[in-house]
């Protein structure tokens, strides 16, 4: 009896650490490990329109529609060059490509708006994902699945602000000006949204997560 009870959670944990097996993550691994051009062509076909839509959603100062295809080009080149560092255990291909796109978008804007020497690129602010532990993997995957399911069920007023921030590239202050809302209201809607998406960790659990 005891033995069965002990082995049960191990099975659950093993499941949480399984590699992502969606087709895009598999293709990205193939690009990374064997510079597979046909896998890259499939990724391009799938992600290029998404990346272009992401670029077209930008409403940042200095951004103009002509930059959209430049962004697609720059992101896909980075995907090819950096695919070797992609670890399907830590994130899905989509999340990984999103972070590349976000960094490229900021760097393109900074280069357009700035003629002086820029010592840092946005990539420099980003840390390699931590060594995955069963608990952190489980949490990350749960978040991934939960965000997928609940994003479209968010109340419109929370969804609107998250879209402004993530897709249009607006700060909370800019969002509050555009929506004619107090900054505090914008922040509390963001916070409510994060709770619904189960992204925040209660402070009492934070301490435990550090040592998991």
């Amino acid at each position: 009896m005891d033995k069965i009870n002990q082995s049960a959670p191990k099975v659950a944990i093993f499941k949480s650490t399984e590699k992502r097996d969606d087709i895009w993550s598999v293709l990205l691994v193939e690009v990374g490990t064997s510079q597979d051009r046909s896998a890259f062509a499939q990724l391009f076909e799938h992600y290029a329109p998404l990346l272009k839509s992401f670029a077209q959603a930008s409403r940042q100062d200095g951004w103009f529609p002509g930059l959209a295809e430049d962004l697609v080009q720059e992101v896909m080149i980075k995907v090819w060059q950096k695919a070797g560092g992609y670890n399907p255990q830590k994130s899905s291909a989509t999340t990984w490509i999103y972070t590349v796109a976000r960094n490229c978008r900021i760097d393109m804007l900074r280069r357009k708006c700035n003629t002086q020497h820029l010592p840092l690129e946005n990539e420099d602010f980003w840390h390699e994902p931590d060594e995955a532990t069963p608990v952190s993997l489980l949490r990350q995957k749960r978040t991934e699945e939960h965000v997928k399911l609940s994003l479209e069920q968010l109340p419109q007023e929370q969804d609107e602000i998250l879209r402004k921030v993530y897709l249009e590239g607006k700060s909370h202050t800019e969002a509050s000006q555009e929506l004619d809302l107090p900054l505090g209201t914008v922040k509390s809607r963001v916070r409510l949204g994060l709770h619904k998406l189960q992204i925040l960790v209660a402070p009492e659990f934070k301490k435990e997560l550090v040592n998991d």
Binding site: I77, N103, L167
Partner: protein, 222 residues
């Protein structure tokens, strides 16, 4: 690297960081905190899922020009330019990579200047003009002038620890000072303390010594 910290950026700030809408100077400070704080690194990884999902759900009605794929393939086949390896780097061990990169910036090498018997400052060139970004070094047991803030200030402890009237701050802690906050930081007795800071407007000093120091403390964003 895995110890628990008491002072973190707010979740709203991490949202802006994950969406890429935080200004450069604040991003430098948040990133320095993330270097030391696993808990916030994990939170940012979870927040990235929002951006990824929103991007993924976008209606892919955008039409991609037929030539774009060939353009990308042509670029991929270009030989990679060699990474420049100009001069010997003097990385400070344990410091976040991007802070070391700023310290090693060949075009704008930071210089340490003495502000008082207990404090030195080195301004960092960051290519933005909203905040002045600098490293401050307080010697062991050093007392700094009492001052208040006319603008926002973010501080991250990179080495050692310091305290003020409110709390003790150790390696990795992220501290926000708002206009009107008055404080007098003191270095810990057991060793020097180095902090990264981004400040928005000049600080106002509260003592005679401070008045003498004021010209040194002008904010010069670079």
């Amino acid at each position: 690297m895995t110890k628990f910290l008491n002072h973190h950026p707010s979740s709203e700030m991490l949202v802006e960081f994950s969406a890429g809408t935080l200004d450069t100077a604040t991003s430098i400070c948040v990133s320095a905190h993330l270097h030391f704080c696993k808990c916030c690194r994990n939170e940012v990884a979870r927040l990235n899922e929002i951006g990824a999902q929103l991007m993924y759900e976008a209606q892919p009605e955008a039409i991609i020009d037929n030539g774009l794929f060939d353009k990308v393939m042509a670029q991929i086949d270009q030989p990679q330019p060699a990474v420049e390896n100009s001069r010997e780097k003097t990385d400070i061990s344990g410091f976040p990579t991007h802070v070391n990169k700023l310290l090693n910036d060949a075009q704008n090498t930071p210089v340490w200047k003495r502000l008082s018997s207990s404090m030195e400052v080195a301004k960092l060139f960051t290519g933005q003009s909203k905040f002045e970004v600098a490293l401050h070094k307080i010697c062991a047991g050093g007392v700094t002038p009492k001052h208040d803030h006319r603008g926002l200030e973010y501080t991250v402890v990179l080495k050692g620890s310091f305290s003020d009237e409110k709390s003790v701050y150790t390696q990795g802690d992220f501290i926000i000072r708002e206009p009107g906050d008055v404080h007098q930081p003191m270095g810990a007795k057991n060793g020097e303390c180095i902090c990264l800071s981004a400040r928005e407007a000049p600080i106002k000093l509260k003592s005679i010594l401070g008045l003498l120091l004021n010209p040194w403390l002008r904010v010069n964003p670079s």
